[in-house]
């Protein structure tokens, strides 16, 4: 297959020669060719026999230990998307036409045109399992990883958000996991100087052994400054910069090292990666200065597969070849073997491709920021990724075979055995409450709907001084103009929201994924921004379980269809499989992030009732939809039936009205309707500024107040603007119901109940502190 | 080669919320008989030469200047071994 790998080593070494001070054998390409039958621990590295056979086919010999390290990690589910690929391609094939999309899926993060020469790049990524093992470091490094993805696009990261799922709020382990996760996000994100502007915190017993920590980062750059992960230009230098490489997260590689080389020092390696946010902050400023000095040809962050991933991907997308001397990689632990260096997940590292003439300038900028940087190799036109260790060639592979040509599985799937029974168990049989006031307070004080201030007050939402809206607003919103020093002014802003409802997706993954998109889309629109693009983090159980795979296939199909209908393309995202304990998977949890643009950020619509004497208007129709609802969950511990209908055309019309009304200055406040329905939306709107409201309902009060029908929002309109607003709604066929007015110190639902805002506040704010101290 | 240990502790009169939190957690974990916990920092300083009086004086100066904030912290210096 390969010319070079068959060639005798230029060093003429004998097979099996001990090459280092510890007397350990370097498994060179020459040695591999000479010992074709030496057993390799591919199974311990999670590789299947047929995958291993394919590596041998590609190389025309057995892989060396270092090559096996590279293929095993690059062909892992995490890096290769081998189980999800066949489904994910729908995001491309069904993608709506969008002129805004500058960089789509497949790069570190998608990039969208947000006008006036500006582009935004954003992505959400999971760090679920590490956050269960060590909540603080797991969550912290999750933030660090997604921030580096954004940096590697050439952007300045400007904000983060976190979508979190935990087990039952009162479960013992939740008291370990949640405070640790929040502290990890808080410490890392705050220390980076990135405002945390939104996200979610959701509790459900299904996440007890599998918390979900999905971190989103958004960055800003000039449209013509996009950087890509590519290594073109033979002779260009490959620079590794940032933290040094240590034995972090290389449990797998240790298996390899100990199996190939008898050495006790390899026995124990920590599985937990430790983050250094200070180094990451220096990296951010350093990278931005490198970009400004135009000394970077290509760049890639080092994520899950470390040097393996960065070198193979850069080489595969560039001229095609790269020579690397692994001895040059700066090590925190000098005992590391090459296989471990290749698989190390040490944080806060980046790899750049730099023209030789620019190396001095590159190094000077790194020195200014105290960021260590080392040339470890150079770009070639050989089509081969060649790595040496102690002068011997230990890797010689076509990089594309590792980076892009991993295995692809058409995993079998079928509807879960209990799905029909689950859908048949409709909430109709549940007893309706007599006391709606008590029901509201019970919901408002339940962990999922209670104030998340205990969490969000640990996040800096103000740093960088561009935060227009942050939690508990429906979307986080940022001013663009001042986000990068010295940049041209613009009135524009961006808005971001993430949503996902695992209960809905359990009942119907197709609709559940659409509802997640619809809610995030709506949350962006209610603040006055036009939804533009989508990122997603798809959290599921094991793809090897055909029932889980069905949930996944349905969710992807639903999301792709909904993106097409709503005209918002998926720009990138992440799949997290194996979120299960034993054979019990989590509820399928597609989390969807939507980015929108507001032309004049000063016209943003704040969340809730901001003043007295405003008309309270409900937009959208309410049906009796209680499947998967908060009411069924909190009051009856019931999950069954079907989720609300995803009314996408209605959703689109609603968004059009909201965005246009905001731009015409017709809205004083707004709030989307979702979990807990109108009752909870009214209560939260009163709580925003402590302004009460009096409303009147027509129809069944319970359904009107607690149903979770989609495509609805609450707005507050000045009385004199009401007619103009109503005619705007009529023109777009958005149902519009005047419910009452804002004012007073209570939430009054005529003939149903009255609750003082102060009582709402006490109930709403007490729940989380009572649980977590 | 010698190793010198510098222990830095909050002064007794300064509130130590971290130590208190640990003290509160111990009974929950089944440890009894603890009347208080104070949390501090330990620095291990490897010297190129011997830990003679001059070297120790230098380490004390390091502690005074950088390792401890003597407004709120005390330090102690000892040779390990």
């Amino acid at each position: 297959m390969s010319e070079r790998s068959e060639r005798p080593s230029e060093h003429g070494d004998e097979v099996g020669r001990p090459t280092d001070a510890g007397g350990r054998t370097t498994d060179s390409v020459v040695r591999a060719a000479a010992t074709p039958d030496e057993p390799m621990p591919f199974a311990e590295l999670g590789m299947k026999q047929d995958e291993y056979d394919r590596v041998k086919d590609i190389l025309g010999r057995r892989p060396t230990g270092a090559e096996l390290a590279i293929y095993s990690v690059m062909w892992s589910e995490h890096c290769s998307y081998k189980s999800s690929k066949v489904h994910l391609k729908q995001f491309a094939t069904k993608a709506p036409k969008s002129e805004a999309l500058l960089v789509g899926m497949g790069e570190n993060a998608g990039v969208v045109d947000i006008g006036d020469g500006w582009a935004a790049t954003f992505k959400i990524e999971s760090h679920n399992h590490p956050s269960y093992v060590e909540p603080h470091q797991g969550a912290a490094t999750g933030v660090g990883g997604i921030v580096r993805d954004i940096m590697s696009m050439g952007a300045r990261p400007i904000a983060v958000m976190d979508s979190l799922r935990f087990g039952a709020a009162d479960a013992v382990d939740t008291r370990r996991v949640l405070p640790g996760v929040v502290e990890g996000i808080s410490h890392y994100g705050n220390c980076l100087g990135l405002p945390n502007i939104g996200g979610e915190v959701v509790f459900d017993p299904c996440y007890i052994g599998n918390p979900l920590v999905n971190a989103l980062c958004v960055g800003l750059l000039r449209k013509d400054q996009i950087k890509l992960a590519t290594a073109p230009g033979p002779g260009n230098k490959v620079v590794l910069f940032g933290a040094s490489t240590g034995p972090d997260g290389i449990g797998g590689a240790s298996v390899l090292a100990s199996a190939t080389f008898e050495d006790e020092s390899q026995a124990k390696r920590p599985a937990v990666q430790v983050g250094d946010p200070f180094m990451e902050k220096l990296l951010i400023e350093c990278c931005l200065e490198l970009y400004a000095a135009d000394v970077v040809v290509g760049i890639q962050d080092l994520g899950a597969a470390g040097v393996s991933c960065a070198t193979t991907e850069l080489a595969a997308k560039g001229t095609g070849g790269m020579d690397v001397d692994l001895n040059l990689v700066p090590l925190r632990d000098p005992s590391l073997r090459p296989e471990e260096i290749l698989m190390s997940e040490s944080q806060e590292r980046m790899m750049a491709v730099v023209r030789p003439d620019d190396i001095p300038a590159f190094m000077a900028i790194c020195a200014k920021w105290d960021v260590p940087a080392t040339v470890i190799g150079e770009v070639t036109d050989t089509g081969r990724l060649v790595m040496t260790w102690d002068g011997e060639v230990i890797v010689d592979i076509p990089p594309g075979t590792a980076a892009d040509e991993g295995p692809v599985y058409e995993r079998p799937f079928h509807e879960p055995a209990g799905q029909a029974a689950l859908n048949a168990d409709a909430p109709d049989r549940l007893e309706r409450p007599a006391d709606l006031r008590a029901t509201l307070l019970k919901l408002l004080g339940s962990p999922n709907l209670a104030s998340k201030e205990w969490v969000t007050s640990q996040y800096d939402r103000y740093v960088r001084s561009n935060t227009v809206l942050a939690q508990p607003a429906d979307s986080g919103m940022l001013r663009i103009s001042e986000s990068i020093a010295g940049a041209e002014p613009t009135t524009r802003g961006i808005a971001l929201a993430t949503d996902g409802n695992g209960r809905y997706a359990k009942l119907d993954p197709y609709a559940g994924a659409q509802l997640a998109l619809a809610e995030a889309y709506r949350n962006v629109a209610v603040t006055g921004a036009k939804p533009l693009a989508v990122t997603n983090c798809l959290n599921f159980g094991s793809p090897e379980d055909p029932e889980v795979m069905w949930q996944f296939a349905e969710a992807v199909r639903g999301l792709a269809d909904a993106c097409k209908t709503l005209g918002v393309p998926v720009t990138g995202g992440n799949v997290s499989f194996y979120n299960q304990t034993g054979s019990t998977a989590i509820n399928p949890t597609p989390v969807v992030g939507v980015l929108g643009v507001i032309d004049d950020v000063a016209k943003r619509v704040p969340t809730g009732f901001v003043a007295e004497g405003l008309r309270v208007v409900l937009l959208g129709d309410t049906h009796e939809e209680f499947g998967g609802s908060e009411w069924a969950h909190v009051v009856h511990r019931h999950l069954g039936g079907l989720p609300p209908q995803a009314a996408l055309e209605a959703e689109q019309a609603l968004a059009t009205v909201l965005v246009e009304a905001a731009s015409r200055g017709l809205l004083e406040g707004s709030h989307d309707l979702s979990d807990g329905g109108l009752a909870v939306a009214l209560a939260e709107s009163c709580l925003a500024r402590g302004v009460g409201a009096s409303v009147e309902l027509c129809g069944d009060a319970f359904t009107e107040l607690f149903s979770e029908s989609a495509a609805r929002a609450l707005v507050a309109v000045r009385p004199e603007a009401y007619d103009e607003f109503a005619s705007l709604c009529a023109r777009h066929e958005v149902p519009c119901y005047g419910l009452g007015v804002t004012g007073g110190t209570s939430l009054v639902v005529k003939d149903v109940f009255e609750v003082p805002v102060e009582e709402l506040r006490e109930t709403h704010s007490a729940a989380l502190p009572a649980l977590f101290g | 080669m010698a190793r010198v240990i510098v222990d830095v502790m909050l002064k007794p009169e300064i509130l130590d919320p971290q130590g208190q939190a640990i003290a509160r957690a111990l009974p929950r974990l089944g440890f009894s008989g603890v009347s208080s916990v104070r949390q501090g920092k330990r620095f291990e300083i490897e010297l190129e030469g011997a830990a003679d009086e001059a070297a120790l004086a230098e380490v004390r100066k390091m502690a005074e200047t950088l390792l401890a904030n003597t407004v709120i912290e005390d330090y102690s210096v000892r040779v390990e071994g």
Binding site: E183, S186, H187, N190, C191, L192, G193, D276, P277, F278, M279, K281, L282, W369, D370, T456, S457, Q458, Y459, D460, R461, Y462, V463, R464, S465, N466, T467, V468, R479, E482, A485, V601, A602 | L10, E13, I14, L15, P17, Q18, A21, L66, L67, N69, V71, I72
Partner: protein, 227 residues
């Protein structure tokens, strides 16, 4: 008259430097970026030490920054009367540098806290608070994990007796500071340190729901014009 020049210092890990510079510009002064490794104050009329996590807050907040080359210029200049303000990490640095007494320690709650905080301006005889009225109640954001002001009893008594407490927390102490102290000044009144962030309360559109932070910046202008 040319615009007053306020130096804004960046240490490795400083975060609120751009924000402070913007606030300086908003009141019509010139923001002069100062780099920690330089030994040149560029002839600025005043210095702003912004918040952040300089050197990752490793060792102690402000403990390493205090030894920056630029600090070797700032300390004597401050002692000679140059107006200097430190917010959050800047306050921590001023205490570590002994330009202000006492120290900032871990919040009593052990949690980082970001919230809009009500404060009372206790002392207007400083270079940075003369635009306020004594006793004026304002709202500024706090955002820190180590903001609990401590000092020994004598120091505390001297601060109170000398009128050196500049701002005090109202409506709930966010960190357990002694005497609800949010900010203090030196004897001469040219050096002020506080945990809350005036620079995040200067515009209606962004940051805290208040523009009370502007007073700190208009104060320094007033001070420089009158000087």
């Amino acid at each position: 008259m040319s615009a007053a020049r306020v130096g804004v210092v960046t240490f490795p890990g400083t975060l609120d430097d751009q924000d402070a510079a913007r606030a300086v510009r908003l009141v019509g002064a010139q923001a002069v970026p100062l780099w920690h490794a330089d030994r040149d104050l560029n002839g600025v009329d005043a210095v702003f030490l912004p918040g952040g996590f300089s050197y990752g807050d490793y060792l102690r907040c402000g403990a390493i920054s205090r030894f920056a080359p630029l600090m070797e210029e700032i300390v004597p200049a401050a002692k000679a009367g140059l107006p200097v303000i430190g917010t959050c990490n800047g306050f921590q640095i001023l205490c570590e540098a002994h330009l202000l007494p006492g120290a900032l320690t871990r919040n009593g709650s052990l949690h980082y806290v970001c919230r809009d905080q009500k404060l009372r301006v206790e002392q207007t005889a400083t270079a940075w608070t003369n635009a306020f009225e004594a006793g004026q109640e304002i709202v500024l954001p706090v955002k820190h994990g180590e903001g609990r002001y401590v000092a020994d009893a004598d120091t505390l008594a001297a601060l109170e007796a000398g009128g050196h407490v500049v701002v005090r927390y109202l409506g709930g102490n966010p960190n357990g500071s002694l005497n609800d102290i949010a900010g203090i000044r030196n004897e001469a009144g040219n050096v002020v340190g506080l945990m809350p962030h005036p620079e995040h309360a200067v515009e209606e559109l962004v940051g805290a729901p208040s523009t009370d932070g502007l007073g700190f910046f208009t104060s320094i202008l007033k001070n420089l014009v009158n000087a």
